[in-house]
């Protein structure tokens, strides 16, 4: 697509200018991967490296969490941000892991990325569908930015506040208890406990996770169905009210577990119980589980 090639050049130009003028110590973007359908996050520190930057239909990785590697430097860091990266950045600001004035956000209008696994199967000239997370995307563009690459667009506004409903969650809810459990157990029977879903997630910002820490007696290192389910449910609870629906956990899971089914259920319940809430839009707003209302629904009288 013409414009994406042009944008790539603009991207590189912007990045080079930033690094040369020392406006930021590093620029975070995407570069080509090993195959035509794969890109990789690129964390560049030298101007000449910016030639590696690319903007195509497979820039799938969420870049926000790489800002955590720059917590100890006091220089600025520039980052290319689609809607999901922007929400990831706000997530980390809300958890006080980075501060806004140390991040130089370069906004990009995201057309929605293609599914790299399907691309590998179908080949280069087939018609490749959008990635699942991009199909359901509600915020393709960053809501606020310092720079913008491509034709300027007025910043996207937060969506109309109404409680979200996810069809796959609804259909799962109709099943009988045993079927639901069978489905849930079948998914987490496969889990390898490689923790890729945790390490990619911008809502998981702990210094030391209870799952990587045998001194905490929460979980055993054994890989069995029960421990895997405890990990899955606990992580879902930990990112409750924090998940920005970037879908990365589900996308990169080596054994393709539909992790978002749990997160979407909690997002849907939060919207219906405590009022519509989109994580990562504004670091100042109250986290659903970090606050309460006297008028919260009452079921335990």
């Amino acid at each position: 697509m013409g414009t994406m090639e042009q944008l790539t050049l603009q991207l590189r130009e912007t990045a080079r200018e930033i690094l040369e003028s020392k406006k930021a110590a590093a620029v975070i973007g995407w570069e080509m991967g090993t195959f035509w359908y794969s890109t990789a996050p690129a964390i560049l520190t030298r101007p000449e490296e910016t030639e590696r930057l690319v903007w195509n239909e497979y820039c799938l990785n969420n870049l926000a969490k790489y800002l955590l590697d720059f917590q100890n430097t006091d220089e600025k860091v520039a980052i290319f941000a689609r809607g999901c990266d922007y929400r990831g950045i706000n997530r980390l600001i809300q958890d006080k892991q980075i501060d806004r004035d140390k991040v130089l956000i370069i906004g990009l209008s995201c057309p929605g990325m293609k599914d790299d696994k399907k691309a590998r199967e179908l080949g280069q000239n087939a018609d490749i569908p959008l990635a699942k997370k991009c199909e359901e995307c509600t915020y393709p563009d960053a809501l606020a930015y310092d720079l913008w690459v491509g034709e300027p667009k007025e910043a996207a506004k937060p969506a109309k506040a109404e409680a979200k409903v996810f069809p796959e969650v609804e259909s799962l809810e109709q099943m009988t208890a045993d079927d639901k459990y069978e489905n849930f157990a079948a998914n987490y029977e496969k889990c390898l406990r490689c923790y890729a879903c945790r390490n990619v997630c911008p809502a998981c910002s702990c210094r030391e996770c209870i799952f990587g820490n045998s001194s905490k007696e929460w979980s055993a290192k054994a890989n069995n169905l029960s421990e895997n389910m405890f990990f899955a449910l606990t992580r879902a609870l930990h990112v409750a009210g924090r998940c920005i629906q970037c879908g990365e956990c589900e996308r990169i899971c080596p054994v393709n577990i539909p992790i978002m089914l749990l997160n979407k259920k909690i997002i849907q319940d939060i919207d219906h119980l405590f009022g519509p809430y989109d994580a990562g839009l504004d670091p100042e707003d109250k986290m659903p589980l970090g606050s309460f209302e006297f008028t919260d629904p009452e079921e335990f009288m």
């Binding site: 090993t34 195959f35 990789a40 390898l192 923790y195 820490n213 290192k221 054994a222 990169i252 080596p254």
Partner: protein, 330 residues
């Protein structure tokens, strides 16, 4: 060489299933792995399975012994390994070479791991040649012959709708003898495996790596790594493990479970010191172990080019590009 029609492979496997517990490569949902053979199994012949046979010999979680403490005295009850003759049908050359690597670790240099050894001896392996490589495959670059499985009892090929079997050991020969009624003696020409997109040049890389401990290649390369354990848990040659116990009151089981050098806790010392504190050290360690330390100790690469880590790595940190970068580095 003896052949059997692909359509009759199920009967052949049923015969074998009487004597051995037969595992076959199968598609299970979006993944593929070795599963016990049943009639409704959906075979996966066209490409290598995602989850290798590693966990058949070195399970992710394996109880080693049961213990009971009563005040000061301690009773230990070793757990007898289940003796269950197993037949793995359709193991690819890269996975067999990986098994060979595991053999070095678990069976040689004076350390014999009983649990691993019994499973290894009880296993009969039917290797399967690859007709076509996937885009992530690069076994030839790592010195592996896709058409000849190392240490297999029978070498099979999937050609023209038939399976050609060729005994490599007398155990293999005995099996072929028992299956005579299904087999037809004929010689098929084994084609060369085609479709390799990646050909990393390993020449001189292990020696060069010896001097590259302090190179800032590792800082550059490690920036994008998430430090998750996906590559290590999917890799057929990774063999690091940790010990833990499942305790109930004063009884418990001591078990072994996979661990990953990518996890921070892996090298966390008791006092809180961590010799590999950041992900740069961990990424460096992973590739040095595979391409330098292991060859130095067992003169054998700890990477067989199966390409699984290329397909699962979320950030495209591929060992092939590392090898290329090492070659380029001055």
């Amino acid at each position: 060489m003896f052949t059997v029609q692909e359509s009759e492979i199920r009967d052949l496997l049923n015969v074998l299933n009487k004597e051995y517990k037969v595992f076959v490569p199968a598609k299970v949902g979006d993944e593929s792995k070795f599963v016990p053979y049943e009639d409704n199994v959906e075979f996966c012949w066209d490409r290598n399975v995602l989850l290798s046979v590693k966990d058949k010999f070195f399970p992710q979680t394996e109880p080693l012994y049961k213990f009971k403490t009563k005040r000061q005295n301690l009773e230990i009850e070793p757990l007898a390994p289940k003796d269950e003759p197993v037949l793995l049908f359709g193991v690819r050359s890269c996975d067999l070479q990986a098994l060979n690597c595991l053999d070095q670790v678990f069976l040689t240099k004076g350390f014999v791991d009983e649990f691993y050894r019994t499973k290894r001896e009880q296993a009969t392996i039917v290797a399967l040649g690859c007709n076509e490589a996937e885009d992530t495959c690069f076994c030839t670059a790592m010195g592996v012959d896709p058409q000849k499985g190392h240490g297999a009892d029978i070498q099979a090929h999937w050609l023209q709708g038939k399976f050609a079997l060729e005994a490599l050991t007398d155990k293999g020969q005995k099996i072929i003898d028992t299956l005579k009624s299904y087999l037809k003696e004929e010689n098929l020409e084994v084609p060369e495996t085609k479709g390799f997109q990646l050909q990393p040049d390993m020449d001189g890389v292990p020696e060069k790596l010896k001097g590259m401990f302090d190179s800032d290649l590792w800082t550059e390369v490690a920036r994008k790594c998430l430090n998750c354990g996906a590559c290590t848990y999917i890799c057929p040659t990774c063999h690091c493990f940790d010990m833990s116990q499942d305790v109930r009151g004063e009884e418990g089981f001591k078990y072994r479970c996979w661990d990953s050098c990518m996890f921070e806790e892996y090298t966390l010392m008791a006092g809180g010191h961590n010799p590999r504190p950041t992900k740069k050290e961990r990424v460096r360690n992973r590739f040095l172990h595979k391409l330098c330390y292991f060859p130095e100790r067992y003169n054998m690469l700890l990477c067989t080019g199966c390409g699984r880590c290329l397909s699962v790595c979320p950030v495209n940190l591929h060992i092939t590009s590392i090898i290329d970068k090492v070659k380029e580095a001055n």
